[in-house]
């Protein structure tokens, strides 16, 4: 029980364990980390730690309390998650109503708020008020991707523990162990934070199509052909929905990073290892400053994609910009070929 958590977040587990032993647990925690980093498991770990009937330095995992914590059926553990993309005041009110009464079972009471950043202002304020009242033997854990998205006053009343994403090498190894080809594993590991997300990426039916599209674009680039025309000629094969634009952009960004590493002779950092020859040619075509500027343009577009924009137009615009820069390079005579 909790083996994965202990492996993934040894520091957090150690910290919680020591605080418990020294009776210095905080009454409110913020577990900050990307999904898949084990924040929810850690919250259950803390609950099990507090309620476990066995006298050990870790939850025994076999007593009724531990088992019910793991099944999320323990009456002293109250879990809130956004029902419709938001946690509203009513959710906090129900929590309050429950904790204003004595516990159904003996022992600590724990509440866990998943996606705490989705609390609206009313909910946050209600929670704040609740945190300010003394409630002996009551512990709260707020899970959030980014603690900064929570009310400052909530943060100041809580202790924040940061959950690190899984090291890339571990994800890569996990993928290879799972039977994925090494190149793909390397690519996916470089673009995600967790094994589950990396696997999801590799299982994306469109991935091959997008990679093909990327190849064609690079070929066009080397041959001095129009990127926009190339893109419009073949994009239908890979781009189906608007999400695909974002995926393609992610791949382009990743590739651009490769190019920059290539320029700096850090080939070891490269991800698209199979593509060495094409990369070398593009690297030879462009200056480091250019590559960095291009990366900036891509990242800028990535930020814009979060808003409601015309993806196709925006994408054309990026390709056009890249293409025009090639023209520019040509006329200014810096073209090395």
């Amino acid at each position: 029980m909790f083996e994965t958590l202990v492996m993934m977040q040894p520091a957090v587990v150690k910290m919680l364990k020591n605080s418990h032993l020294k009776d210095r647990l905080s009454h409110a925690y913020i577990f900050e980390g990307d999904s898949g980093t084990g924040t929810f498991e850690a919250a259950l770990y803390l609950a099990a730690r507090l309620l476990c009937e066995a006298d050990e330095d870790r939850p025994c995992g076999v007593c009724s309390n531990c088992r019910r914590v793991m099944n999320t059926t323990h009456p002293n553990v109250h879990i809130i998650r956004p029902a419709r993309r938001q946690i509203v005041k009513e959710d906090i009110r129900l929590l309050q109503e429950d904790f204003n009464k004595t516990a159904l079972e003996n022992g600590a009471k724990i509440y866990i708020i998943e996606d705490a950043h989705t609390m609206n202002a009313h909910a946050s304020n209600a929670l704040l008020k609740f945190l300010e009242e003394p409630h002996p033997n009551l512990y709260g854990v707020l899970l959030a991707r980014d603690a900064g998205a929570l009310l400052e006053t909530l943060r100041s009343r809580s202790q924040t523990l940061h959950f690190t994403s899984m090291p890339r090498q571990l994800i890569e190894k996990g993928l290879v162990d799972g039977g994925y080809p090494a190149e793909q594993a390397r690519l996916a590991a470089s673009m995600t934070h967790t094994l589950a997300h990396a696997e999801a990426l590799l299982n994306e039916p469109n991935l091959t199509g997008l990679l093909d599209l990327l190849n064609h674009l690079h070929e066009a680039m080397i041959k001095g052909k129009s990127l926009v025309t190339t893109f419009h000629r073949i994009h239908n094969t890979a781009i189906e929905g608007t999400d695909d634009y974002e995926r393609l952009l992610d791949l382009m960004i990743r590739y651009q990073k490769d190019l920059i590493y290539g320029k700096m002779d850090h080939y070891g950092q490269c991800v698209f290892v199979e593509d060495g020859e094409t990369q070398a040619r593009i690297v030879a075509m462009k200056s480091e400053r250019m590559l960095l500027e291009e990366l900036d343009m891509m990242l800028e577009l990535k930020a814009k994609l979060k808003h409601y924009i015309n993806e196709r137009l925006a994408f054309d615009n990026l390709l056009l910009a890249l293409e025009r820069r090639m023209d520019l390079e040509e006329t200014s005579g810096r073209h090395p070929l």
């Binding site: 009724s64 088992r67 019910r68 099944n71 059926t73 323990h74 009456p75 879990i79 009110r93 309050q96 109503e97 429950d98 204003n100 009464k101 004595t102 516990a103 159904l104 079972e105 003996n106 409630h135």
Partner: protein, 374 residues
């Protein structure tokens, strides 16, 4: 596990247990009914977290072949038992996950819930407990619990404050717009203690108490209160926190006292509250004592109309003319809990709380805050 029992006997107890069963809890285990089959009796347990009920079922029709425990989907179980033909029902636990119900020509299997997930409920009886007559307890609850707040913004006011000192038990409830207070005498002396019991729990409790001269044992604990009535254990969580000191809020000096016939006052106020704009339960009604000692009850809804009722006090009136306005709902709710046929209303001033007392309602008072109008 296997036993057989008289079907109606079983159903009767299931219906009692159902009162604590939850239908809309996030915890699916609480939708279950726990059944423990022991050597010579059954134990039925239900809980909705706030209240829990445990029934010990011993009956001559009960024939136990083998013991065991299981968590049965409560609603289906009760519906099935209710519809069965025949006198006797046989229950068998097939394996860990199935319950077989046989009666007459029926043979039904029901998927069981995971008993491991059921809360660990503590129905421990104490060595020292308070003994109260059933009828007295029911009256006490009926006269106080209605005045608790149904709104959670001050959680502590959703409970009835119960305080024991010597042979006296006092209960107070208020939602801060009215207050109700009742004290009873106990048969012996007890150590001082107090608890805040959720009003909703008490309202559920009186549903399972019959109207007789039996006794209820009340077992107090730091975090729970357990009522034992015959073979039923009724467990409630308590409200945490300190109950506000209410005794200072009750006026003691009353320049005006008027005694009414309860029924005629009640109907006059009810008629006056009919003409309310949108919510007849919340009409503002005015009471005025005229100099001829007649009492005028009026209400006025500009767009609908106006009511005037004259009520004659039953005794000589103490004090000078006074005019006071209040919410009809609080007034009527308070008036209705009196057992006395004559009720005295005592006033301190036009914008001061007033109280109701009754000759045959010993140690009970109802307090209401007036409404300020122009």
């Amino acid at each position: 596990m296997r036993f057989e029992i008289n079907k109606d006997k079983l159903l009767y107890h299931l219906i009692v247990a159902q009162k604590a069963m939850s239908t809309k809890t996030p915890n699916p285990a609480l939708q279950g009914m726990r059944l423990d089959v022991l050597e010579d009796h059954l134990v039925i347990t239900t809980s909705n977290a706030d209240i829990s009920i445990q029934i010990k079922l011993e009956d001559q029709s009960l024939a136990i072949e083998s013991t065991g425990s299981m968590l049965i989907p409560g609603k289906y179980f009760i519906d099935i038992i209710r519809k069965l033909d025949g006198q006797t029902v046989t229950l068998t636990q097939g394996d860990d996950t199935l319950l077989r119900i046989e009666a007459d020509h029926s043979d039904i299997t029901l998927n069981l819930l995971e008993i491991e997930d059921y809360p660990n409920l503590v129905f421990t009886e104490k060595e020292h407990f308070v003994k109260i007559n059933v009828r007295t307890l029911k009256t006490l609850i009926r006269q106080t619990a209605f005045a608790t707040s149904s709104i959670e913004n001050r959680p502590i006011l959703t409970g009835v404050h119960v305080k024991i000192d010597g042979n006296r038990l006092a209960a107070v409830a208020t939602d801060s717009y009215r207050l109700s207070q009742k004290a009873i005498e106990l048969e012996s002396d007890y150590e001082p203690m107090q608890a805040i019991i959720p009003g909703k729990s008490l309202e559920e409790l009186i549903k399972i108490l019959e109207h007789n001269q039996d006794h209820v044992e009340v077992h107090f604990d730091q975090s729970r209160v357990l009522f034992k009535y015959r073979n039923i254990l009724f467990l409630s969580r308590l409200l945490e926190g300190n109950y506000p000191e209410t005794s200072k809020l009750i006026p003691s000096d009353f320049p005006v006292r008027i005694k009414f016939n309860k029924e005629s006052l009640l109907t006059a106020i009810e008629r006056a509250s009919l003409l309310s704009n949108r919510d007849s339960s919340n009409a503002v009604v005015k009471l005025a004592l005229r100099s001829d000692d007649t009492v005028e009850i009026t209400s006025n809804a500009p767009e609908i109309g106006r009511v005037l009722e004259e009520v004659y006090p039953v005794d000589e009136v103490e004090g000078s003319p006074i005019k006071i306005a209040f919410s009809s709902r609080y007034f009527l709710e308070a008036l209705k809990v009196f057992a006395s046929s004559e009720v005295t209303i005592s006033f301190t001033g036009e914008v001061r709380p007033f109280i109701m007392t009754g000759e045959y309602d010993e140690d009970m008072l109802q307090l209401i805050l007036p409404v300020k109008t122009d």
